[in-house]
Symmetry: C2
Subunit: 507 residues, 2 copies
């Protein structure tokens, strides 16, 4: 394919994309395929000779589209949103064409520099403390992390089950990059501190005493970060709102210290996965500071909302944190992937892997290669992701982004009132952002059956969670194009299925 | 921006992209900006209200383009190639529009299933042993890993230096995902084995005895994988071709075993970063198998060439490996990022993080959340990357891809003959793929000065490496559009600068 053909095919693709997004509502949100459906639809080997472009596009309709879960359908209410906007798609096209791999300043100065400035822009929108802003002479700053850090079970097979509810058992494990990075930086910092007092202690001797903490409601990726880093990760119980309070953490930390452990890291969550609960970081922060523990604040989903003054108080206490992350690709109209992370002291991150453990020191020196490695590096880089932020921030403006957040929160509130008005249902957690956790009053089995019906009908799509042993349905406002009438339709559909379910259980 | 405006702007962007790529040759390959150049060109804060699209595109020309290192210019000979092709760009547009986050089968069945089949296609092109192919009932299989696993020094500041050669000191550290994943899986496997014999041994007690190996020529990311995983990583000396041989590894492993260590992992490299050397895996494989060590084979760059029968013998011995990776985004015309990894036993990867260390077991059970986490997961996913492979493999066909590899190798050979014909120069390593390592006979300083001149002139772009203490220039064939005349021009330019340099040093 030469440039001329690309011009033609590219413009056709733009129309294909626009058609897809404009007419998404007409497609069933959840696909009607069985595991293994695709393999039989395409050859078992790559072609020897080039094929025709038209054939490939026909196969997109024949092979791909039937197997897509349409994340941007206004009937998609599952997980958390994946952001999408036209300016971000345009910026991504540009990024693909430039195709630079920005693993260093020289590898493409614009790529590195726009990123630093965009993270400052976003940091200011969030009113982050000055210490997190890079500016021209700050000690902190932001970076776009690769989101999907470490897939811990990438090869999970797809068990074929007849039961429709089984579909949600196939998820793959990942460890969020920001959490892992902050944990490793904190681990490095504490090891150095301990060794400066007890130079005879080896790294593994210290590792065995280290203890990190996170909410029992925090995402499994936090736990996995502990596993990867080889340190103990304790889960802190939450209060009735599923949040960690200062008192609870303090007691556990003090007890662990008495037992000779070394508490060194706490990962707070603002907007938990299950119910969008907010840990009390203004209480937790001072405790972490006093106890010489790194505090990382994970606001992957909810963090975007802090650009609105009315939600910003939930971020109070961030001044005590060492690092913070949110994913603009979730709720800030920047297409996947774009994970933003800030640290107060860049030096903590830079230093994390520069100190070679003692057993490596000698060999490194012997090899004479250390200097080479520092001075030269193959492309292990990053796309030019900050272009997406730049396009989106400018095409929407802060006010446009705030309007997006507010609209989605108000849609969630609207859904909440519909649920509350029906006495058969209950709301299971405070509705603060765009997520509503609800269930039928009654057994877990009843709610599982309701979800099974919803999934089977494929008119709307949502996923469950467990809250204190109860099976709960999560209704997350996801698509940029979801409107009030979609919410009302969704609720009508749910109550219709509920009616059928309850009728049958009476019979 | 609505769909209608997107149709217009999208088509303009397609033309912008085609214009950029068609006229790339006319732009200086390396930018003439100083660190910090960008910040002063744009506002310090995001706009409150939406801006005009035309303004943004004007700023692309004003702000971004002057700071781009043009990786796809035919005058770019630095690092290793970053693949780019029109079919991949088209597929990526489609992927951006679908915007699904394929972290599980249900999250978008097509995304998961196409990936498995594309990795089988590629595996067959490479003639991987059957055990690495998923098929419908295989125990092995492939996955697209996120390439940029863990940035270990993401926040490295940019020191401003007048000396042009300093530019290559700003690289950021990363650990390749495939290496890290395989090391963690191997670590998990060995810990289980040791504990099954010595149930009283704790994880940290085992960790302290574990030892992994890799070539002294392997990429720094391998060393970092060891650091992240908290295990000792020893560097194995190489022979005169910069390759690890079986005898050398065997001696080191046996000595370590005598000293009570537990060798468990060896990362072989096919196509090292510095000089594209090939470890002797057909000798190393049986040793790893005998010694109960996981062998991972990293062929990030050179691996793509194994689709050509004449290069496939370099992969002989892969049947002894547990895992293997190559990056189609380097040399197989699939735009960044696309890192392919295969394992022989998917179960080894799946299992790696399912066994909670003892200290977690109790708490996990207490929290009652483990089951929830396995059964439900927020989007921590992956783009629909396999679409790029599908489009590229079909639009080029195996023969087209082979032609691309062969052309680039022949260009490297052509450059090699030009160098060899000039008695002032020497070739520093066998030219097997698309990389030529060469230098002026003489001091490191002389060669550093030559590179300084090359970088300063900005007509071509290349980076250095060190080989056994010598400063060496690396000339890598990178762009898809590089032709024989570019190679001859590049050589003419290098000899012209050499002439000037030598003249001045005489004076």
């Amino acid at each position: 394919m030469n440039a001329e053909e690309f011009r033609r095919r590219g413009k056709e693709m733009v129309d294909f994309v626009a058609d897809y997004l404009e007419n998404l509502e007409q497609r069933p949100v959840f696909p009607d395929v069985q595991p293994g459906y695709l393999r039989s639809l395409i050859p078992t080997e790559a072609p020897l000779e080039p094929e025709n472009y038209e054939e490939i596009m026909k196969d997109v309709d024949r092979v791909i589209m039937p197997g897509i879960t349409h994340w941007h359908s206004p009937y998609f209410y599952a997980y958390f949103p994946a952001a999408s906007s036209y300016p971000a798609i345009l910026a991504d096209m540009l990024s693909g064409a430039i195709g630079c791999i920005g693993f260093s300043w020289a590898a493409s100065p614009a790529c590195t520099e726009l990123e630093t400035v965009m993270l400052d822009w976003l940091g200011k929108m969030l009113q982050l403390p000055e210490s997190f802003i890079a500016g021209t002479r700050g000690h902190g700053g932001g970076v776009i992390q690769v989101h999907n850090g470490v897939q811990t079970s990438a090869f999970q097979p797809i068990p074929f089950k007849q039961h429709p509810q089984r579909w949600f058992a196939h998820s793959r494990g990942t460890a969020s990059e920001a959490t892992l990075m902050s944990l490793l930086a904190a681990r490095c910092k504490i090891v150095r501190q301990v060794q400066s007092i007890n130079p005879e202690m080896s790294e593994p001797e210290i590792f065995i005493k280290l203890v990190a903490y996170t909410s029992e409601q925090s995402h499994s990726s936090v736990e996995r970060a502990g596993l990867i880093g080889g340190v103990m990760m304790k889960k802190v119980p939450t209060d009735s709102t599923y949040a960690v309070t200062g008192d609870t953490l303090k007691k556990i930390v003090e007890k662990d210290k008495e037992e000779g452990l070394i508490p060194f890291y706490f990962c707070a969550t603002l907007g938990t996965t299950a119910s969008c609960a907010f840990d009390h970081i203004s209480e937790l922060g001072p405790i972490c500071n006093e106890q010489n523990m790194w505090m990382h604040v994970d606001a992957a989903y909810a963090g975007s909302a802090f650009i609105c003054p009315e939600f910003r108080p939930l971020l109070n206490g961030i001044e005590f944190a060492d690092s913070f992350n949110l994913n603009p690709h979730k709720w800030l109209l920047v297409n996947f992937d774009c994970s933003a992370m800030w640290v107060k002291k860049r030096q903590d991150m830079i230093g994390a892997f520069k100190v070679e453990p003692l057993y490596l020191r000698h060999e490194n020196q012997e090899s004479g290669l250390v200097t080479d490695y520092r001075h030269w590096q193959i492309p292990l880089g990053r796309r030019f992701r900050s272009l997406k932020m730049w396009f989106v921030f400018r095409m929407y403006g802060l006010q446009g982004l705030q309007a997006h957040i507010r609209k989605q929160v108000s849609l969630a509130k609207e859904f909440e009132s519909l649920v509350r008005a029906d006495k058969r249902f209950e709301i299971c957690a405070d509705v603060i952002m765009g997520l509503v956790c609800f269930r039928l009053k009654g057994s877990n089995e009843l709610n599982q059956n309701l979800l099974k019906r919803i999934t089977k009908r494929r008119e709307i799509h949502l996923v469950p969670c467990h809250l204190t042993g109860r099976f709960v349905l999560r209704f997350a406002i996801c698509s940029r194009t979801t409107e009030s009438h979609h919410i009302r339709e969704a609720w009508k559909h749910i109550t219709q299925l509920t009616f059928e379910l309850l009728q049958e259980s009476i019979q």
